[in-house]
């Protein structure tokens, strides 16, 4: 096992990793920017190194300074957390080359999964379901029609160079395809200077379902069930839960099997998350593999009892998986609300000093946060300041607990998304488990 680990991150995830290391008897080194000199993750670690000014490109993302910090403190491994350098294949590669273990998958794994098209290709080759789409760029209306008829309507036309909704057209039937194709091409041309477009199956109200996987150095892979992360705002997850109200035991086994096969196909190691899209007909499609620990990993920990960070560290140290698939028992239901330092209606950031911070407590409550009364939420980084996680015997109980805990949570001095979460929990559709990735948009409009 490692003797000393450097945590190349900040905030709650840095503290989360430090806590796991302490429980494993591993010494820790925190890095920090000048803006975080007094942060809790810095005070919680055994050693600390300032690696640069507030801007993350010059500090937390500054590979030379982070690696120098690792060298001068003599650590044998680096935990990257999420964000920052966690999915940087080059960083993982340099770590490997200087003999410092990168706690995560190999740099090859990261590079391969970072190329989304390549990842889909590998998975599709294995005969696993990926989102149906045209093989490549469409050259003509004829091409588009053939592809659409093969995929089935509705379809969405997207610009290959696209993004942000520009150049996109949803087409419900064959008659409308020609006009939409031309319009999308024209818009792509005028917006991106490139009229390349392609087709994909268009899903109505899909769910975002992801499966947590663990893989050891010996090629053994297990999964820890799914997480339903459908409640998103602009692709930012806000509320996550497990089990998903839309996944029954049979579907869980199927989707779990596909997730395990997908990472096996990629010779993937360490922890990872396989993302799927689940449509209204309960068909699921592979989207991508996240090669880091996820923000929402705690809900999986709550229902499995497995400490994912410790498992990640053990796997990185070369230990074999300590659990077999049949030992994974999902108990109860867990919910996570991300508390952001944001205006709960306008979503504008709300940095500042937290004048009062009283987290909720009691049975079934977990708070992952690096905040305390007097903490300063600096404006340079992610706005998430706390994760409130509940566990209950069933969805009803964990939801009731979440409502109770949100009511107890006192954060003064800044604005947070707590009021938004309270409103979401009161929503009848949410209570019935009727959510999709379009839920929040409708909810906020309504």
């Amino acid at each position: 096992m490692f003797k000393k680990v450097l945590i190349a991150n900040r905030g709650e995830i840095a503290l989360r990793v430090i806590r796991a290391c302490k429980e494993l008897g591993i010494k820790t080194v925190a890095i920090h920017s000048e803006a975080d000199a007094l942060a809790l993750h810095v005070r919680a670690a055994d050693e600390k190194v300032c690696v640069g000014p507030a801007e993350s490109a010059l500090s937390y993302r500054n590979i030379p300074n982070v690696l120098s910090a690792a060298e001068i403190t003599g650590v044998d491994a680096i935990h990257p957390g999420y964000g920052f350098l966690s999915e940087n294949a080059h960083f993982a590669e340099v770590c490997e080359s200087i003999g410092i273990k990168f706690i995560g998958p190999s740099s090859e794994n990261i590079a391969m999964m970072g190329d989304k098209a390549k990842a889909r290709e590998i998975v599709a080759k294995r005969g696993l379901p990926v989102t149906p789409g045209s093989p490549g760029e469409l050259r003509s209306e004829e091409d588009a029609l053939q592809a659409a008829q093969k995929i089935g309507f509705p379809v969405i036309i997207k610009a290959t160079a696209g993004g942000g909704g520009r150049g996109m057209r949803v087409v419900n039937k064959a008659e409308d395809l020609g006009r939409a194709f031309q319009a999308a091409q024209a818009e792509a041309k005028s917006t991106f200077g490139n009229d390349g477009v392609y087709l994909e199956r268009y899903f109505l109200e899909p769910r975002h379902i992801e499966v947590q996987v663990l893989a050891d150095q010996h090629g053994r892979v297990i999964h820890l069930g799914e997480r339903d992360c459908s409640i998103q705002r602009r692709h930012q997850k806000l509320v996550e839960e497990t089990p998903s109200p839309a996944v029954d035991d049979k579907l869980r086994r199927e989707i779990g099997r596909v997730a395990v096969e997908a990472v096996k196909a990629a010779h993937y190691r360490n922890v990872g998350t396989v993302e799927f899209l689940l449509d209204k007909d309960r068909q699921f499609y592979f989207m991508e593999v996240n090669t880091r620990i996820q923000v929402e990993h705690p809900i999986t920990e709550m229902v499995t009892g497995i400490d994912l960070i410790k498992e990640q560290i053990r796997l990185a140290a070369g230990h074999p998986l300590s659990i077999r698939q049949q030992d994974v028992i999902l108990t109860g239901h867990s919910l996570e609300c991300r508390i952001n330092a944001e205006d709960p209606e306008k979503f504008t950031p709300s940095p500042g000093t937290i004048t009062k911070y009283n987290p909720p407590g009691g049975f079934g409550i977990r708070v992952d946060s690096a905040m305390e009364s007097g903490s300063v939420v600096v404006p340079y980084y992610d706005s998430m300041i706390a994760k409130l996680i509940t566990h209950g015997r069933d969805r009803q109980e964990s939801t009731a607990r979440m409502k109770r805990a949100l009511g107890e949570f006192v954060i003064e001095g800044i604005k947070t998304t707590i009021p938004l979460h309270r409103r979401i929990l009161d929503d009848p559709d949410f209570q019935k488990g009727h959510v999709s990735t379009t839920f929040l948009e409708r909810f906020l409009a309504g």
């Binding site: 000048e34 803006a35 000199a37 007094l38 005070r43 190194v49 300032c50 690696v51 640069g52 000014p53 010059l58 500090s59 030379p64 300074n65 982070v66 690696l67 120098s68 910090a69 060298e71 001068i72 403190t73 200087i98 500042g352 000093t353 004048t355 305390e372 009364s373 007097g374 903490s375 300063v376 600096v378 001095g413």
Partner: protein, 185 residues
């Protein structure tokens, strides 16, 4: 990464204005003596107070112990102070007061690494205390990732103090040298 002469990230200067009515090392309370303020801070800490206020001869000093561990020292003139809007690094500003009174320039490390006073183990140090240095003159090396980074002086002046021992590790922003720019030869 190429061999560099501390160009990419420049050493940070901390120059604070000299206090006006200073006459001796032992500054009077009206001049803002850190020693006497420190005594008040100790008093505050010993008694586990949130706040301590002291008023004498028209000077009022209030010290508040915030929830975080750093003490904020304020000599307030406003009627309605809002301590929440203190600058984030007030603590470091406080520790730099002595620099302010001396007018010295602090040369800090622009990178994380290992500090060396000489280009190689058997070579002479680049500089010694008491020597005069020129702006741009190499003062030391900070090794990071097997690369030697030469750190140059930002100013002309007399090297008052070398703050780090050779072969010790340094973090970003760590003070390495004190230079007295008034003593420029």
């Amino acid at each position: 990464m190429s061999r560099r002469r501390s160009v990419q990230t420049r050493p940070r200067r901390i120059v604070l204005p000299k206090a006006e009515n200073e006459t001796s090392q032992e500054i009077s309370l009206t001049g803002g003596s850190t020693k006497q303020i420190q005594e008040l801070i100790d008093l505050l800490r010993r008694n586990n107070l949130t706040e301590l206020e002291f008023e004498r001869q028209g000077i009022r000093i209030r010290i508040r112990h915030e929830l975080s561990t750093r003490p904020l020292v304020t000599s307030a003139q406003d009627s309605v102070p809002t301590p929440l809007q203190q600058p984030m690094h007030s603590a470091s500003a406080v520790t730099s007061v002595s620099d302010a009174s001396t007018g010295f320039v602090t040369i800090t490390s622009p990178i994380v690494g290992t500090f060396y006073r000489s280009p190689s183990p058997d070579a002479d140090p680049y500089v010694e205390e008491g020597e005069f240095v020129k702006k741009g003159q190499v003062l030391c090396i900070v090794e990071a990732m097997k690369l030697m980074n030469e750190i140059e002086s930002e100013v002309d002046g007399r090297l008052v103090k070398i703050l780090v021992e050779s072969t010790k590790s340094v973090e970003y922003g760590q003070a390495l040298f004190l230079i007295d720019p008034r003593a420029a030869s």
